[in-house]
Symmetry: C2
Subunit: 451 residues, 2 copies
């Protein structure tokens, strides 16, 4: 950990301000700051000594010029040390978490985690909520009647010990500096920065006593990272930060040009999770979930090689033990586990609108961001952090990239509870589909492994 | 002038904030904002509806991505309209001002303005103070015992009518938006932006009822613009803004790699102004002052061609009428005009330190910024806006670029009143001089004319 360098005792606010300007200036010129300088800025900001307006200028300069791995590590450590650290040393077993940078229809956590837990890995899953066009694991779980994500630390410990898996929300006491910084970034168009995203994710993950971490870095139209080179840089930065903190970290870079699976929307995605854990799910979702589970199992030392880990994951899917694990976890966290068999127990939409293909041909693209936005528009996602969401609504694709469709055939179905913005959403969805005469080239789902 | 677009009545602060984020985001992506969007941001900020932290992020994004001429014009208009406009329509004659972007040893205003006024042009000179390593005309004038720069508008009018020249400081009521924006830029390392510099200068100049404006855009080590391409862009932007406002505007791009003349420091520069107006000044200072005066005379319609204007300027220098004009102005503004003949009446330094050449050769460079910083260090300039300055102190060069010097010969003399930082200043000055065996190539003083 870094030595903390505070300004000299008795220094004037004026000096502090001047020094801050100087650091902002150097960053805008593209210079690397020392770890002590990064700590000076972040701690000054967290303590309220450096004003918001200087920090936001600094953040924009970071978006412009980027940060080196040394700078990002200093920033991460600093945020990590700003708050509580959840100590899991009392829980037996190897602790492995999985984190996705956010996508559309991405419910892999709810599939990979139960499979890995069923294979003997301990999975302390600290999840977030969705923002913008991307969904969040907590929102999906809360579509299950009764499910509680606000466990106490004691409950979290106990459940991890007993079941090997528990889902919990981010506490405000963990990395408050990140929380404060994120609010400012959100208001100043400085969210999109590889360095800031990497340190925000890693500070939250390192605040939990993990042994290993599997990262799923999404790339494509539905992801924050639109280009593979950016996704790779983000993955490398996060793996580097994790290694500096002595964690085993691997990142997959995976395609998010089209939604994962067919379902987008909270309750709809829970249904698809259930089908997938019963080996009746979409091919892409099953494949990626199994690979993530295998990486968790391997890093979690429950298999000696990645090949063996893949076999273990496959077995835990096919023998239904992953499915059983999720049911146990739902029950333990107050939810009604019957929803996995009886979908009518989940919140249900009251209306449905089909979207048709204007011509026959091959589906050559399904823009994930547009599908995500359409789903958000009718209430499945939030514009702002405190907006309420409607668990019942969403979109179910009927076809995905590479499939044939007839003129007038159904492209997808929109499930809604209010008619307000359904037509706008339908328009977005129509724009999302591209139909061409030639079959598109097949695209890789898992593009790279980093670390 | 722009139609002003305010947010819809009854709009929520939340909407305002979201819209602002969106505009920041678009600027960081390099998109052009519409004039209405620029007005929305600047007026929102000036009224306190858009918080500092959003504005500073926007400003950094502008430093990053720049602004188009249309955006800069909208910004300028907006700042202009935020405050009072000084109406000079009651003053007879063609009103022409001159503005320099700031340099070291730049006392051309105090030479060119009296010459132009002596030639019949009305020169309402609104000047600024020095900041950092550059000097300001007001500070130089205030080295003259009794000189008042805080004239009332009535006094300003009367003196312009009577003498054709008056010097006045920037009032807080003129372009308050620029003042507020500048304070924020100063604290957030966003001063250095061609677009922001252009609009700041031009809004202040357009707030006075001018007919024409001559700009001296400095380029080189002692200027804000280090590269000619940036100076050209700044000059073009300012000329464009002026033309959109129906003013005759010309810009000279001039070298500021070494100080202009030999004297740097307020009282020392007044002495050199006096010598120059008596045709006994340094060649470079005389040449640039005459060219600026000629441009003022030409744009001020006191000569039909620039060639004729050059002859007029030369005559007004040689016949002593420029010198006489400055004396009259000093007297009218409460100063002791005798200082121009009797330098001992000016504030005088109490100590002098010579700096010697380490070897014989040709002076191949005199870094203007280092000379300016050395001078600032011993009290001639200010670090912060409200710092006091010492009018007596400064640096006098003994040699300039191209001249020969012997080993141990005097390079320059530092005049001080306190010994505190003299040795540090001497070190800076030593670093400023480069002595080489070969004579350097001759450099142009006036590099380009724009407009």
């Amino acid at each position: 950990m870094l030595a903390f360098t505070s300004p000299k005792p008795g220094c004037y606010a004026k000096e502090l301000k001047m020094r801050t300007v100087d650091l902002i200036f150097r960053k805008r010129q593209g210079e690397e700051l020392s770890p002590e300088e990064v700590v000076f800025l972040v701690n000054g900001f967290t303590r309220g000594e450096i004003p918001d307006y200087q920090m936001s200028a600094f953040l924009m300069a970071v978006c412009w010029q980027g940060m080196t791995e040394r700078e990002v590590s200093a920033l991460t450590d600093c945020m990590l040390e700003s708050g509580e650290v959840i100590d899991l040393s009392g829980v037996q077993g190897v602790k492995v978490d999985k984190h996705s940078t956010g996508g559309v229809g991405d419910k892999t956590s709810l599939i990979a985690a139960p499979i890995a837990a069923a294979a003997g890995v301990v999975v302390p899953m600290i999840s977030g909520r969705g923002l913008g066009h991307t969904g969040g694991t907590l929102d999906k779980l809360e579509a299950i009647p009764g499910f509680r994500t606000s466990l106490s630390i004691g409950e979290f410990h106990a459940q991890l010990q007993q079941l090997g898996l528990a889902f919990i929300g981010q506490s405000a006491e963990v990395t408050p500096a990140d929380g404060k910084l994120y609010s400012l970034r959100d208001a100043t168009a400085t969210v999109e920065s590889i360095a800031l995203i990497a340190s925000s994710i890693m500070s939250k993950k390192l605040a939990v006593g993990l042994d290993a971490l599997v990262l799923d870095v999404k790339v494509g139209s539905g992801a924050f990272m639109k280009k593979q080179i950016d996704a790779r840089r983000l993955a490398q930065l996060m793996v580097g930060i994790g290694r500096r903190a002595n964690k085993r970290v691997q990142a997959l870079i995976t395609d998010m040009n089209q939604p994962l699976g067919y379902a987008v929307g909270n309750a709809l995605e829970i249904m698809e999770v259930s089908q997938t854990l019963q080996n009746a799910g979409p091919v892409d979702l099953t494949r990626l979930s199994l690979e993530l589970a295998a990486r968790m199992i391997h890093l979690g030392r429950a298999a000696d090689s990645i090949e063996e880990a893949r076999e273990v994951a496959q077995t835990r899917l096919l023998d239904g033990s992953g499915y059983k694990k999720l049911k146990e976890v739902i029950t333990a966290q107050g939810g009604n586990a019957q929803v996995l068999d009886r979908f009518e127990l989940l919140p249900n939409a009251t209306g449905m609108r089909e979207v048709y293909s204007p011509r026959s041909g091959y589906v050559s693209a399904v823009d994930a961001e547009l599908i995500g936005r359409a789903s958000q528009m009718i209430g499945a996602g939030r514009d702002l952090k405190d907006d309420a969401i409607d668990p019942a609504v969403g979109v179910i694709l009927e076809v995905k990239v590479g499939q044939k469709v007839e003129s007038g055939g159904v492209l997808c179905r929109i499930y809604y509870t209010g008619e307000d913005r359904v037509e706008d959403a339908a328009e977005q969805v129509e724009d999302a589909f591209r139909i061409s005469q030639q079959a598109p080239e097949e695209r890789e789902l898992i593009l790279e492994v980093v670390g």
